[in-house]
């Protein structure tokens, strides 16, 4: 398969990220209104995110005593870059991929693993106690979700006998992985929420730490961190659609449309879960990850492998 030319691929990934982040902002506000008691308005749901972003853009920058300035500046940019790398690995059609290296799965995983570096750096560098707590929390969270995440993803590579994401989607033409590996998608979604620290697993930036790693953020840095976090959720949902829901396979509609529909459906599911489920304590999440998720992920990969033999 030919690569898209680099400038076009860059622009496409950037546009997809921007559209995804705005969609998340709109969906999140709308779901909050539907779940709660408020009333949905154009002004609140559609214009609201833009107003909030504009407000952060002109907000005065605060700083702390003796922060690690390079690290503090780097962290949101790093998370944005990781989300872009992860999203670039997701093909939206058989001939429409920003990049399809033969090791796409490994590149995506590397981006996911690096999220913990970005979050730790973000919490460590402001020289602030609550931010530091958030960083250590995410250390425990990330080291716990890493193995089940990689195992759940790796199982999708088995039927394709390839680490290329395009091959992984191609191999789902007869049967989607969500049916072939019934444990895969639930596992992937649970750890995917943890990866993008959203909703019930937003532990590093939780409100019980007054905002955790982003407690000292202000202005553009806060806007960038928030949007990078949302972009990561977009990448996780898009890869879930490609890896488990058959990507571009589907009747009647053209492939890329199916891909977008599936990604948005997963995104909506994750956002609704964020509003309906209570936050999980970090101690409980670590125990769940090591005692339940890893064994389930191992069972999933053993069964998938045995079925192929």
């Amino acid at each position: 398969m030919d690569y898209a030319s680099p400038p076009i691929a860059l622009i496409a990934v950037g546009l997809a990220m921007a559209a995804g982040v705005y969609l998340i902002a709109v969906l999140d506000r709308s779901i909050a209104v539907l779940v709660g008691a408020g009333r949905w308005t154009w002004r609140g749901a559609i214009v609201g995110p833009i107003r909030s972003a504009a407000l952060l853009l002109v907000q005065r920058r605060r700083t702390t005593e003796r922060p690690d300035s390079p690290g503090w500046t780097l962290a949101p940019a790093l998370l944005t870059g990781l989300a872009a790398v992860a999203l670039a690995m997701v093909p939206i059609g058989p001939d429409m991929a920003a990049a399809d290296p033969s090791t796409g799965f490994v590149v995506f995983s590397a981006a996911i693993v690096f999220v913990m570096i970005a979050v730790f750096l973000h919490g460590w560098s402001p020289n602030s106690a609550l931010a530091m707590h958030g960083a250590y929390r995410f250390g425990a969270q990330a080291l716990s979700f890493q193995i089940p995440f990689l195992l759940a993803m790796l199982a999708t590579a088995l039927p394709a006998e390839s680490l290329s994401i395009v091959d992984i989607v191609d191999a789902q033409e007869p049967l989607w992985n969500v049916v072939r590996q019934p444990l895969g998608l639930p596992l992937y979604l649970v750890v995917g929420v943890a990866v993008s620290f959203w909703g019930p697993l937003n532990l590093p930036d939780a409100s019980d730490l007054a905002g955790g790693t982003s407690v000292e953020d202000s202005g553009v840095a806060r806007l960038l961190w928030k949007s990078a976090r949302a972009a990561m959720l977009v990448a996780v949902a898009a890869m879930g659609a490609a890896g488990f829901l058959g990507g571009w396979w589907g009747p009647w509609l053209p492939g890329p449309v199916w891909m977008v529909i599936k990604a948005v459906a997963l995104l909506t599911l994750l956002l609704v879960a964020g509003h309906l489920l209570p936050r999980v304590r970090i101690q409980r999440f670590v125990v769940i990850a090591w005692v339940i998720l890893i064994p389930l992920a191992l069972v999933n990969i053993f069964v998938s492998g045995a079925l192929l033999l």
Partner: protein, 189 residues
């Protein structure tokens, strides 16, 4: 990977980045910064490996190092009694010996690059580099390696279980209590 000027520029950026960040590891005054500089250095080396056509090895290096460096930073901070690793401290001991050992090790490792007469027979890039690498590394001993891998993973899980919850001073998730100063209390535990 064949390619023109752009690939050369990227190679030199990675090479310079690996050297500079590698040097900064020893010149910085914080354990967390040292760990992250080392990570940046390894990531640059991983990028060079990808340029050399070893995509899988390069990306796996980057993937593995991220987790390892974070664990290293946290463990160092825990052992060093340095709250959050924020207090400045020297990263090197025995300066002269360390400098001599570093220069010597670099010279020994770099000498072959200049002294060895490398053959000039460019091979075509393999189609399935990752699959060939797996065949070369594992080959017939796939089952042995997989068994060892699962064994290692279960050891890891066992260690985490042993270290996690039930400690000498109570359950970890309920907050630990300090040992009593009274001998009788300590004995009756």
């Amino acid at each position: 990977m064949s390619g023109g000027l752009l690939v050369d520029v990227i190679f030199w950026l990675f090479a310079a980045g690996a050297l500079v960040t590698g040097y900064r590891v020893f010149r910085t005054d914080s354990m967390v910064r040292a760990a992250f500089y080392l990570l940046a250095s390894f990531a640059a080396v991983g990028g060079i490996l990808v340029l050399l056509g070893a995509e899988f090895v390069g990306m796996v290096l980057i993937l593995m190092m991220a987790g390892e460096m974070l664990i290293m930073a946290i463990v160092m901070v825990m052992y060093m009694m340095n709250p959050a690793g924020l207090n400045p401290m020297w990263m090197v001991h025995q300066h002269r010996v360390a400098v001599a050992a570093g220069v010597l090790a670099f010279a020994v490792l770099a000498a072959p690059v200049l002294l060895v007469d490398f053959p000039d027979r460019p091979n075509p890039a393999p189609e399935e580099a990752t699959a060939q690498l797996g065949e070369e590394l594992l080959g017939d001993s796939m089952l042995v390696f997989q068994t060892a891998g699962v064994g290692l993973l279960s050891t890891m899980i066992g260690v985490v279980v042993l270290a996690s919850r039930r400690g000498r001073y109570g359950e970890a998730d309920e907050g630990s209590s300090e040992p009593s100063l009274e001998l009788q209390d300590a004995e009756s535990r």
